[in-house]
Amino acid sequence: MILEVKDAIKKFGGILALNKMSISMDSAEILGLVGPNGAGKTTLINCISGYYKLDSGVIRFMNRSITNLPAHVISRLGIARTYQIPRPNPDITVLDNVMIGALFSQDQRNIRDAYVVAEGLVKLVGLSTKRESLAKNLTLVEKKFLDLARALSTNPKLLMIDELIAGLNPVEAEQAINLIKKIRYDYDLAIIFIEHVMSAVMRLSDRVIVMHEGKKIAEGAPTDIIRDEKVVEVYLGRGYTHA
């Protein structure tokens, strides 16, 4: 088991964003995280990456507790993430953005080696022609891929992708799906991805967890999930199973 979240509770004022949420994951597994807006998917990622502190509960990563450790420590232990709205450093180049992630990873690379890693990753996500562009001049889609390359530059063992495919056109979505598959095999990663595009969830996930109001309401193989009564009720809607 690479990741285990147990009875995680996160409150924002009176709102329970995570209400005794538990998940566990094997290494090299792709876990799809779905659910309606406000279900707590992004909050869960924020808690795992150390962005938020849990109010109670335990998070274990590779057999050690990472509950409420600082985000930079968690990152160096091997958990990386992307952001729903990409957040590259706008004033530096694509290559520099990725290089910085490699520079501060647990591998203790020097600057020259970090650039070598960055070049490879920029190429992998298809931004080679834009490597010297300032990040602020990229399109939204390019920024998403930059965010992904930067997350990979930290050499993670667990990658959390927050909505990569939503907003992409069909060709780009196809590229994204193939890219995630390639990353999984080439880098031997466990991947959690939050996604609203169900066709992508179906194609990529080994397992799907459905969240609603801070809780897990269903878990299982993608084909089982879409038949689950509760899931259809709160998230997919009646039309989906018949479609």
Binding site: G50, S75, D91, F104
Partner: protein, 310 residues
């Protein structure tokens, strides 16, 4: 890349010229050179932490004052040689930054600025009430042998400050700071121990005003709390740096040089209107060139270049 080589050659030329003219200059010119170098050190050292990280310090002069007092004490009470006292003053300023940084660097935005500003008033008040330091009477320090020597020492400190910035920008510290400036939370998520790098840069950036404070005490032969803890030096550090371009190696140098000359010319000719014109000019330039002179030059040259390619 080429333009940066030219600017370094230009900078080297200016240094050689300065070294050559200092001994032959009048007292007025020497004082002007010393003051300009002093502000240059203020601006360039402010830039090391605040310019690169985006944490706007309004208490930069604190380290100048502490350096001045430590050096003045060591020279007058312990009988240490001035150069050694100056260096210890700088180290004391760094040590102070490392300790108060543990508190103020946990604050962000305006809260950080206000805290640094407030702490300076605290240190000023301590100096005012310190009987051993003669309180508001100040300390008389045996004067430096010549004004030219002041200029040369200031030039050396300025050079080290700029070179430190140059090497820091290309190191892990520099990359950590620009990541913090862009988005501190994201920087943390990339594995950057943001607090550690802020503290290191804050301590480095405080060393130089500490040195400068000691040199000032020796140069002016007299210090008192109000002259070495005056917030105006903090403001000028920031203004000169922003004017030239924050987060760049040469921005504060260019900003200080141009504004100092401008200020001197205005002051000599329009003694009544000078602050009005000066303030308006600075405001206009900061409004229209938010990245400073250097940023504007880079923008213009890059747009011209990209048009040529097309």
């Amino acid at each position: 890349m080429k333009s940066s080589i030219y600017s370094w050659i230009l900078a080297l030329g200016c240094i050689v010229l300065l070294v050559a003219i200092i001994p032959f200059s009048s007292g007025y010119i020497q004082t002007f050179i010393f003051n300009t170098l002093m502000f240059l050190i203020f601006a360039a050292s402010w830039n090391i932490f605040s310019g690169y990280s985006g944490y706007v310090s309004l208490g930069h002069v604190t380290f100048f004052g502490v350096g001045a007092y430590v050096a003045a004490f060591l020279i007058t009470k312990a009988g240490l040689a001035p150069p050694i006292s100056i260096i210890i003053g700088g180290l004391a300023a760094s040590a102070l930054a490392a300790s108060i940084g543990g508190v103020v660097l946990r604050l962000r935005g305006a809260y950080f600025s206000i805290a640094t500003f407030g702490l300076n008033e605290v240190f000023k008040t301590i100096a005012v009430n310190m009987q051993k330091a003669e309180g508001t009477l100040g300390i008389v320090v045996p004067p430096i042998p010549s004004r030219a020597l002041s200029c040369y020492i200031a030039l050396i400190i300025a050079l080290i400050t700029v070179l430190t910035t140059f090497f820091m920008e290309r190191s892990r510290i520099g990359y950590a700071l620009i990541s913090i400036r862009a988005d501190e939370k994201v920087a943390e998520g990339l594995g950057i121990n943001t607090f550690k790098y802020k503290l290191i840069a804050y301590a480095i950036g405080s060393f130089f005003p500490g040195l400068l404070g000691g040199l000032f005490a020796w140069h002016a032969a007299y210090i008192d709390p109000h002259s070495v803890f005056t917030p105006f030096y903090s403001f000028y550090s920031m203004i000169f740096s922003i004017f030239g371009g924050v987060g760049t190696v040469l921005g504060p140098v260019i900003g200080t040089t141009i504004l100092s000359i401008f200020q001197e010319l205005l002051w000599a000719r329009l003694s009544y209107l000078y602050l009005l014109i000066y303030g308006a000019a600075v405001a206009v330039i900061i409004l229209y060139m938010p990245k400073g002179l250097l940023g504007a030059v880079k923008y213009v040259s890059s747009t011209l270049l990209s048009k040529k390619v097309r």
